[in-house]
Amino acid sequence: MARIHCWRQGQPQKWLRYSVMAILMSLLIVIGFGRAPALAVTPRHYTELQFPPAPEVKIPPYTRFELSNGLKVYLVEDHELPLVSGVATVYTGDRLEPADKVGLASIVGQVMRIGGTTQHPAEVMNQFLEQRAASIEIGINTTAGSGGFSALTEDAEEVMGLFAEVLRQPAFPEEWLEFSKNQWRGSIARRNDSPDGIASREFQKLIYGADSPYARTVEYTTLDNISRTDVVNFYRQYFYPNNMQLGILGDFDTQAMRALIEDLFGDWQPTTSPVGRDLWKSLPSVQQAKTGGVFLVDQPQLSQSTVQLGHLGGKLDHPDNAALSIMNEVLNGLGGRLVNEVRSRQGLAYSVYALWAPQFDYPGVFVAGGQTRSDATVPLIQATLTELEKIRTAPITEAELARAKDSVLNAFIFNFATPFQTLSRVMRYDYYGYPQDFIFQYQKRLEATTVADVQRVAQTYLQPEKLVTLVVGNASAIKPPLSDLTPDAKVTKIDVSIPNVKS
């Protein structure tokens, strides 16, 4: 389980992917820890053990510079293995696409890569990369565009050359645009095939509003509205060196890499239009769409209900976030209140959670939920609400506070376990305008958090009157019915049927 990742999985095709072990990026800096082995060991119970001092956080050195065209570059050398990889982050995002062309940003990202470049058509590029076990991928999500490449050291220069081409001269051929749209049509057709997928999608709509940039969905009609001109224009609006960060990690010499980057990107002309975080000024402010209510997506074939309940949340840079993350720890994880009570004691669910989940630059959500057999739907919701009420109205114990703090602080070293983590953190903080010592500020706040702080934030930020409750399940088998949950006994049904494809 782990604390978080059971709560939002989405697409059905992920079922096999998860079973492949994650491959991490490579590490930097060989530090020798020649420790003298102890002489004799007596087995001890955990309560009797003493440990060597906790390891210190060490941050690999990195180089940061800017080309004269405004491209921000971050370099981290790591010579453990003969590999080089890189990431480019572009100030763009699907929240910036027009409401009648939802899907445009995602298509731009996909076709940049799969459509090839003016010099290297798709087929040639695929061959080139795969013969070298190299990769280039581009994607645009809600708040950013991101590209990445990986290559063996011996191929790094050539692969980076292609990467620069993909960023600078994508061809956007019609046939690949059509391919990308068709992939999206397939995904629309399949979006109701997983109960969890329905729940996550519809919950976002209830919180942010169906038309909000944070919840709207790609539809057959919005795809039909997207032309090649739209794709090219969207690309031309955002892909400039002064609107981008480039990070390279791996087996290279910094001076030589600097020269190579100058060579590949130095003559790229910047734009004079607004760039960076200025692009976000036009975004609408975020308000909770539905404040309260019980909603149902009726799926008669199901024997289990998927529940999500919650309300609008906050941003990651809010000072109260440290105390809120202690609240998360107390509620979740093995030994957390929800898992102990709802899962282990009552056997109501395999996964159950309640999370304050902030975002970098717009309000995130507070979301709780789980999955349970149809007839236990109302008990699951009530058990979850009981735990929320408890944490709002009564102080947590000093032991719980200590456990929560220790869990985060003792594992803090894992934020710095690979050079890739450092590179991406440095870039991410710059991207969103966060201070570079943000993670250490958070650590300090966490250390200083008291029982009273946790109760204050629970009372302030968990707002029962604003809770929206969504159930994806079999209405006729949910007994007691959902109407028991609400004083006016009103349950709003949500129709998720997919409008037909035009023939």
């Binding site: 096999l16 079973s19 491959i23 063996l152 395999y350």
Partner: protein, 501 residues
């Protein structure tokens, strides 16, 4: 316990492979040799094996306890026992997870008796007695629950800075894993050794409900979960891989603590446990601690290795699952276990078919917009015994399963009739090497692979040696194995679609 992908756990082992190449990536061999020098092994007097890889890039260490028992070892009627045990291995010991084990034990024993008596009374139709027994059961269960410190084992790990605590059960094996800051090595030794020397399978009945929810989530309410279950039953009848890892609902409901204890006593013996430790440790110190902590296990000769003789398939089979969902298509071809001399060839065939955008089925199905995606796994659902080469695809909008099947047939036929080009062959070899190279930089990845190779092939060195086997594969090998494999009498077809389509 709560792993994603638990049900299906395809042991693809991250596209195995290594170097020794003449083409791109040929100079990665020194790196692989350097890594191999950082790996050492030892076996305790009781038979438990340890494989240790020193990697000092960050002050952290990853652990994997690999138990050589998976769902394939379960008796028919007791499906789900290995997975159930895995869940109960998080419930603590005589000293962890309890307020007072002396008071708790008789209650747990009484619950077991009552559970049996209820089953007997139910079978005999003694309604009144059932009600009485159930009442006592509920009271006893509440009394036992009051003595439990819920999830204390996991709490200790997390509070000490442990991350990624989890476990998985597959057809072949059960794996327990997490990572600690390097200064907590001895804590892992203490917790993990006690976990399997003095385990208490408490909260059994509560966990039964949790597992039933897990089954509903992964199988009963998941179209693809249902197809996989039906597909394996059809493709591998009377074969341990034909039964679901999570277990059938009726079996999960009727399993007892004694069943779990039996499985534990039979298979959780030192000779079936292999431990991987990768990270910022000193191998000598690991050995000293392991001898002290895990040396406490009683040597015990384990169960004999299972021999699987699946009834020979003589003609094609098929199964269709109707659910309100867009279509999926599956093909499975029976193949031998991983000790087969052609094991590497099966892996190569999978890569040639679906490894990347230039692969044959990607071009023919995805690029041509017949399918949204297509994948081939060279071994499913395990590889310790005879198993399946599994192909699965989701149809593209407006396309049919039949159209996909036709193209698949023609591509498989091409593998049988035409030798693959040197370029294609080199490409999949290069990808195999690069893939292993990337795994070398992951503590968790290596902690998982080393004990698995040790347990399944007899030596962790085969993780690297396998690259030689891959390097040696020729176009003629591919053609020969394709001809053996892709025959109608090896084939099972699975279809998932809405009833009206």
């Amino acid at each position: 316990m709560l792993a994603l992908g638990l049900l299906l756990v395809v042991i693809w082992t991250c596209a195995p492979a290594t170097a020794i190449a003449q083409t791109t990536g040929s100079n990665i061999q020194p790196y692989i040799e350097r890594v191999a020098r950082q790996i050492s092994e030892f076996t305790l007097a009781n038979g438990m094996k340890f494989i240790v890889m020193e990697r000092h890039q960050s002050p952290t260490v990853s652990f994997m306890t690999y138990v050589d028992v998976g769902s394939a070892y379960e008796q028919p009627g007791k499906t789900g026992a290995a997975h159930f045990l895995e869940h109960l291995a998080f419930k603590g010991t005589t000293r962890i997870g309890t307020q007072d084990y002396a008071a708790e034990k008789p209650l747990l024993d009484r619950l077991d008796q009552l559970f049996e008596q209820i089953k007997t009374a139910e079978a005999a139709g003694q309604t009144q007695q059932v009600a009485q027994l159930k009442q006592e059961f509920a009271q006893t269960r509440a009394a036992a629950a009051a003595l439990v410190k819920q999830n204390q084992y996991g709490q200790i790990v997390q509070q000490a800075g442990g991350v990624g605590l989890n476990a998985t059960t597959s057809a072949d094996a059960t794996r327990y894993f997490y990572s600690f800051p390097a200064n907590k090595l001895e804590l892992w030794m203490s917790l993990e050794s006690e976990r399997f020397t003095e385990p208490v399978f408490r909260e059994f009945f509560e966990e039964q409900d949790v597992i039933l929810e897990e089954r509903r989530m992964r199988t009963d309410n998941s179209p693809i979960g249902k197809l996989v279950e039906a597909f394996l039953e059809t493709a591998l009848p009377d074969h341990p891989y034909g039964r679901p890892v999570i277990g059938y609902e009726a079996d999960i409901r009727s399993l007892t603590r004694a069943d779990i204890q039996d499985l534990f006593d039979t298979y959780y013996t030192p000779d079936r446990i292999t431990i991987g430790i990768v990270g910022d440790v000193n191998a000598k110190q690991v050995k000293q601690m392991a001898e002290a902590y895990f040396g406490r296990y009683q040597a015990k000769s384990g169960a004999p290795n299972m021999v699987v003789t699946a009834p020979a398939q003589t003609e094609p089979r098929s199964v269709t699952v109707n659910m309100p969902t867009e279509p999926w298509y599956m093909e499975g071809y029976q193949r031998p276990d991983l000790t087969d001399p052609d094991h590497a060839v099966y892996q190569m065939i999978a890569s040639l078919l679906t490894g990347g955008r230039t692969s044959r089925l990607y071009r023919a199905l995805v690029q041509q917009q017949l399918a949204l995606n297509v994948n081939v796994s060279s071994s499913f659902p395990g590889d310790q015994f005879s198993n399946l080469v599994l192909l699965y695809a989701q149809t593209a909008p407006g396309q049919t399963i039949e159209a996909v099947a036709t193209v698949v047939a023609s591509e498989l036929n091409r593998l049988k009739t035409e030798p693959v080009s040197a370029t294609e062959l080199d490409q999949v070899k290069t990808q195999a090497r690069a893939s292993l190279l990337q795994t070398l930089a992951s503590n968790q990845g290596m902690a998982g692979l080393l004990p698995e190779y040790e347990a399944k092939t007899g030596s962790w060195r085969n993780l690297f040696a396998e690259l030689n086997a891959i390097e040696a594969v020729t176009a003629a090998d591919v053609q020969r194995v394709a001809n053996q494999l892709f025959q109608p009498q090896n084939l099972t077809v699975g279809k998932l679609m809405a009833a009206d389509s």
